[in-house]
């Protein structure tokens, strides 16, 4: 089981890198926000895997905070843009 979790976290790490590349290649804000959302979910999954791998239940709370703040960041991004449209 431990070995499987290590491999799973490696795959998720690689996926993180790929999502990052995808995000960096985008030029419009919507796609970037989408990329941040995807990276956030990726990070949440990685934290959950780590909590199991390293036997640290505190990391579950870190995943919770990351999920909450990713939502906050999405609001901040889209609101900012709307304000500019309204200006």
């Amino acid at each position: 089981m431990h070995d499987f979790l290590v491999i799973a976290s490696l795959i998720l790490g690689l996926n993180l890198l790929l999502s990052l590349v995808a995000m960096l290649r985008k030029t419009n804000t919507s796609d970037r926000v989408l990329g941040v959302q995807l990276l956030g979910t990726n990070g949440v999954g990685l934290l959950l895997l780590m909590s199991l791998l390293q036997d640290q239940s505190g990391l579950i709370d870190a995943a919770l905070v990351l999920a909450l703040l990713a939502a906050v960041v999405v609001i901040a991004f889209t609101r900012r843009e709307q304000e500019q449209v309204n200006d």
């Binding site: 499987f4 796609d31 989408l34 990726n42 949440v44 995943a63 919770l64 889209t78």
Partner: protein
């Protein structure tokens, strides 16, 4: 037995994560990317969280993991709508 189920679920989760990333890389326009990415990463995290929750001894922590999934599900649905609205607004603006 539980281990096997966990492995199956986590592997399924990883598959959907990768599908989401491929979607972001490959799909042609923002709205279809939005559709693919939000679905894929929610399913990905869902299966992953389920697999991990089965492995956690402490039931409280297991419930917390599932709550995180629900939170991400709701946040991603709402965030997806916000992004879609944003895309539509920008299209109207450029017209």
């Amino acid at each position: 037995m539980i281990d096997l189920l966990s492995i199956f679920l986590i592997a399924g989760g990883l598959f959907f994560y990768c599908a989401g990333t491929v979607g972001l890389l490959r799909l042609p326009d923002t709205l279809s990317r939005l559709h693919a990415v939000t679905k894929a990463d929610n399913l990905g995290l869902g299966l992953l969280a389920l697999g991990i929750a089965l492995q956690i001894g402490d039931p409280l922590s297991a419930v917390k993991v599932l709550l995180i999934w629900l939170l991400v599900l709701a946040a991603s649905a709402a965030g997806g709508q916000l992004i879609a609205q944003h895309v539509v607004e920008q299209k109207e603006e450029t017209k």
